[in-house]
């Protein structure tokens, strides 16, 4: 499903150059659930952003199914994100001006894959039924993150990426959100790559990959 080969990335400023990724190789099979762990500043989020096409790598390749992400222009990377990926961020990033129902259906609609039955199922499973007409600012953090997970999976992408999805939540809420995410991932059969610094949560997935000083150890 996902293949990353010799990926390197260096952040350059006028004062210094910081090599964040130094030849990273990673493979995630279809339906596989992988936790990407490591210290703060080890490059986990950078790797996830590169896989999502949100940033450019200096060298190396990223393949999503049969499509090569690296080297694509912005429009091509946007199309891959829309069709193949679902992304969940630590800060939820819901659209503040849309209701919860509209936020939930948003990505499926722009991908042209809105399925009302699946939408209703997501609402049930995520227990959002009584919140659909509200706006994001009226929800708690845990509720917002559930909406973000639902939005990412509404178009049934083959790969779900999550960047510290529970970083802003308390332990119980984090367990609950991750549990729901795992269930929905299993229900859709998509692959799941999650960045986390929680070893406890990482242990709940199929495989752990540790990133240390810019390389997979």
């Amino acid at each position: 499903m996902l293949k990353v080969q010799n990926l390197t990335k260096t952040y350059r400023s006028t004062q210094e150059h910081v090599a964040v990724l130094r030849g990273v190789n990673l493979t995630v099979a279809a339906g596989e659930r992988v936790a990407l762990i490591g210290e703060s500043g080890s490059g986990k989020s950078t790797l996830l952003h590169l896989i999502a096409g949100l940033d450019h790598a200096d060298a190396g390749d990223i393949w999503l199914q049969d499509a090569r992400m690296t080297g694509l222009p912005d429009a091509g990377r946007a199309a891959l994100r829309c069709n193949l990926l679902g992304i969940v961020f630590q800060q939820f990033n819901l659209i503040p001006s849309l209701t919860i129902a509209d936020n939930l259906a948003f990505q499926a609609r722009i991908a042209g894959r809105h399925d009302p039955h699946w939408h209703d199922e997501l609402v049930d499973r995520l227990q959002l039924g009584n919140l659909l007409t509200r706006y994001p600012e009226q929800l708690s953090g845990g509720q917002q993150q559930k909406v973000a997970v639902g939005r990412a999976l509404a178009a049934r992408p083959p790969l779900l990426l999550a960047d510290e999805p529970t970083g802003n939540l308390d332990e119980n809420t984090a367990d609950q959100v991750l549990g729901l995410t795992r269930d929905l991932v299993a229900r859709t059969g998509c692959a799941f790559l999650m960045v986390t610094h929680s070893l406890r949560l990482a242990a709940t997935l199929d495989r752990e990959v540790r990133l240390s000083a810019g390389s997979i150890s």
Binding site: H49, A52, L54, D55, D74, A75, R77, A78, A79, L80, R81, C82, N83, L85, I87, F89, Q91, N93, L94, I95, P96, S97, L98, D102, F106, Q107, R109, I110, A111, G112, Y135, E137, S140, G141, Q144, R151, N168
Partner: protein, 819 residues
């Protein structure tokens, strides 16, 4: 589908932020309304000039005019026709009907050239009635309604002459009555005389002009621009400049609102990008949203523009009639191009105001967009560039001032100066606030200064708009007050006589003069006459002045040589109006040649005088020399010097004796009041546009503060948490905004005075040819400062009260990490 969903998401932002949407719409509506209002006024006036110019030849047809004097003998028409010249005679003059001055044009429709547009106005069906007795008097419907007359009515002029029955024709320009030339000769009492000969397409063989007419006639080529258009250009350019300024101030609001909307929507933009919307599609969608909003507000703006133009039109019409004798219909008629141009200005203005924001969205890396302060950081970097651009603009203004000569370059000086000052404002404010921060000892005060600096990027555009509006207000206000002060003094000097008489004809003039000479209450009779000539292609009035102590003592001479009046009396010297001297680049001692029927008249310039408000150039000469040089010229007016208590009885006696109405007989105070009324009306338009611009700037400040106040909580909540009460925070916010507004208003004063100087010493001189002395009016400056502070206080009051009454729960949410 993606584009539509993206557009729906972007539009949903406005549903959640209606105040911001209102700001954007108000900005676009004000900009479009003020611009299109001014354009409607200009278009209305220009249509009227075109109608007048195209009317039976006007300046748009080639014509033959007398080489010397005003009239051509009628036999010349017959001679030229026989010699193969396709000419048609026109006799033109002014008559008064019920106190209204009307232009009477006599035509000969059978020979009139086709391109002179006779047939549509007369109509084939009415041609017979027009030619056969009693004939027809054609006029525009608005002229008929102004004269309270209907079709078929037979009017009489104020001197008792009857006119043919009326028939209204919409093709005609207002203020004009067209009759057969025979009728015109009777009404104007000019038998066998014509004013000019229109020339049609010369196809066949014809004798040379000199062979037929000697040197009595000269051929005038068709002119693309009429005298009226040339004379009124400055007036319309002034209006356009104001319209453009208001448009720019409106765009400042739009830019401010769009900038804040982009900033607030950055997380949404990031999410859209993360969900698979490309930067190009997103930019396109943002542009589509902008065009949609611009079209809606443009349409509303056009309706408001129409209302503004309708409100200002009566004043503009009176100004143009009073200043230039141009007749403008009082009913606004607008062409489709006006609507299209207004909408295009709205869309282009919105696009220009949002261009930078759109470019940034297209170029901003998707991850950088996640940083909430990315926008502000970028704005801080721009401050340095703005400062540099301001310096360049000041240099451009100085260069244009030194080397430019046209009116356009005069306005360019103002534009460069004001734009430079606007760009320099945030830099200057930043400097002053940094100084305040460095010198303050108490931590809260230090925070106030530091926080004000941080807020500058969000407020700077509204403050720029305020600076521009205030400085223009000061500039225009100073100019108007200076003018008012100078004009009153000037009128006192210029209106030397106590009573002014305008006889109907030479015969009456002679009778009145004999009658007056027998009256012991008349201290002096000052005969006056005027001849119209062209010097260096420009229309010039030659004004005959009596040799009297009153002129010598009071005539508003700006500069003169020794024995100037004696030279004038001898005919070897002339006085010249300031504007004509500037136009012809003439100085004291230079020679000017006046074309006269009795041969060219060379004279030396012995003095300059102020002649405010006269679009034509003027030469002042001795009345007796003028009569000798222009023998056919009729005595057109008298000035009488009488004791103040004798003014009313003498006027009453003359009214009874000669049946003269108020248009032919008036006293000095009436004339002064009338002149002042015309100038007040002229500046009423300027003052109205000035107030609109200041109002728009006030709205800009209000909306910016309202929008910013919503994003202020993260800065204020920590202070509340460490012990500052909400009330104290509200007072601090109020104090901070008032301080920034005060600094801006104080900076606007020197800028406004420079603007006033530019208007008086550069724009007025290039526009009208005269320069006023520069005065500063401290009381007006203090009043305007008060208005600016009041506007800032009102703008800040609502956000401050909201903060004062804010529930603690709302402030607590800032710390809940739910944003």
């Amino acid at each position: 589908m993606r584009a539509l969903w993206s557009l729906a998401v972007l539009l949903s932002h406005w549903r959640r932020h209606p105040a911001q949407l209102a700001t954007l719409l108000i900005g676009l509506i004000s900009a479009t309304a003020l611009w299109s209002g001014v354009q409607a006024l200009n278009q209305q006036a220009r249509n009227a000039y075109d109608q007048a110019a195209a009317l039976f030849g006007g300046a748009r047809t080639a014509m033959l005019v007398a080489q010397r004097g005003d009239v051509i003998p009628q036999r010349m028409f017959v001679d030229l026709r026989r010699a193969g010249w396709p000419v048609s005679p026109i006799l033109e003059g002014r008559i008064r009907i019920d106190g209204h001055s009307v232009r009477l044009i006599g035509i000969e429709p059978v020979t009139l050239p086709a391109k002179a547009g006779a047939i549509p106005a007369i109509g084939r069906a009415t041609l017979q009635s027009f030619l056969a007795p009693p004939g027809l008097a054609l006029l525009a419907p608005e002229t008929a309604s102004e004269l309270h007359a209907v079709d078929g009515a037979a009017l009489r002029s104020d001197d008792g002459t009857s006119l043919p029955p009326l028939k209204s024709r919409p093709q005609l320009a207002p203020g004009v009555i067209v009759v057969d030339i025979g009728q015109a000769q009777r009404i104007l009492r000019q038998p066998n005389e014509i004013s000019r000969l229109l020339v049609g397409d010369v196809k066949g063989k014809h004798l040379p002009l000199a062979t037929v007419a000697g040197d009595a006639l000269r051929l005038v080529a068709p002119n693309a621009e009429t005298d009226l258009e040339r004379l009124t250009d400055s007036f319309h350019l002034n209006l356009t400049a104001f319209g453009l300024l208001s448009f720019l101030v409106g765009l400042f609001i739009v830019n401010s609102a769009i900038g804040l909307a982009f900033e607030q929507r950055l997380p949404t933009i990031r999410t859209l990008r993360a969900c698979g919307i490309s930067a190009r599609l997103l930019s396109g969608t943002l542009l589509a949203e902008l065009v949609l909003l611009a079209l809606v507000s443009g349409l509303i703006g056009l309706i408001c523009g129409y209302l503004i133009a309708s409100a200002l039109l009566p004043n503009v019409a009176i100004s143009l009639r009073g200043l230039y004798g141009a007749d403008i219909p009082g009913q606004l008629t607008l062409r489709p191009e006006w609507w299209a141009a207004g909408l295009a200005m709205s869309v282009l203005g919105a696009a220009a105001a949002a261009a930078l924001g759109l470019l940034r969205v297209a170029r901003l890396p998707v991850l950088a967009a996640a940083q909430p302060s990315a926008w502000r950081q970028a704005q801080q970097r721009r401050l340095t560039l703005q400062g540099a651009a301001a310096v360049v603009l000041f240099c451009v203004a100085a260069g244009l001032l030194r080397f430019g000569e046209s009116l356009i370059s005069g306005f360019a000086v103002l534009a460069a100066l004001m734009l430079g000052a606007a760009l320099a404002l945030p830099v200057l404010l930043g400097f002053v606030l940094a100084l305040g921060e460095r010198t303050s000892r108490r931590p809260v005060v230090e925070w106030v200064w530091a926080d004000a600096r941080q807020q500058l990027s969000g407020l700077s555009l509204a403050l720029m708009a305020l600076l521009l509006a205030l400085s223009v207000n000061i500039g225009v206000g100073t100019m108007v007050e200076t003018f008012s002060k100078t004009f009153t003094t000037w009128l006192d000097g210029r209106l030397t006589a106590d009573i002014y008489v305008r006889p109907i004809d030479a015969g009456q003039a002679h009778t009145i003069e004999s009658w007056l000479r027998k009256r012991p209450d008349v201290k002096a009779i000052l005969p006056g006459a005027r001849a119209d000539v062209r010097i260096a292609g420009q229309p010039v009035e030659v004004l005959g002045l009596a040799d009297d102590d009153a002129y010598r003592a009071r005539w508003p001479l700006l500069q003169s040589s020794a024995n100037a009046w004696n030279e004038v009396r001898k005919g070897s010297g002339v006085l010249i109006s300031e504007q004509l001297a500037r136009r012809l680049k003439l100085g004291l001692g230079d020679r000017v040649i006046i074309p006269a029927p009795a041969g060219d008249w060379p004279a030396v310039i012995v003095g300059f005088y102020a002649d405010y408000g006269n679009p034509k150039g003027q030469l002042g000469v001795d009345i007796n020399v003028l009569k000798a040089r222009f023998p056919k010229m009729t005595q057109s007016r008298f000035g009488l010097r009488v004791a103040p208590e004798q003014v009313a009885p003498l006027i009453e006696a003359m009214r009874s004796a000669f049946y003269l109405d108020s248009s032919r007989l008036s006293d000095q105070s009436t004339l002064k009041a009338e002149s002042t009324r015309i100038f007040n009306r002229t500046f009423a338009v300027t003052a109205a546009l000035n107030t609109f611009t200041l109002g728009v700037a006030g709205i800009a400040l209000l909306t910016s503060l309202l929008t910013l106040s919503a994003s202020r909580l993260p800065q204020l909540a920590p202070l509340w948490a460490i012990g500052l009460t909400r009330r104290r925070l509200a007072v601090l916010e109020l104090f901070k905004t008032l301080s920034i507004a005060l600094i801006t208003a104080l900076l606007a004063i020197p800028l406004g005075l420079v603007v006033a100087w530019c208007l008086i010493a550069v724009v007025n001189v290039r526009s009208f040819g005269w320069r006023l002395p520069f005065h500063v009016f401290p009381q007006s400056l203090i009043e305007l400062l008060g208005v600016a502070m009041l506007a800032a206080l009102l703008a800040m009051l609502a956000p401050a009260i909201r903060l004062w009454r804010m529930q603690p729960a709302r402030l607590l949410r800032i710390f809940a990490d739910e944003r």
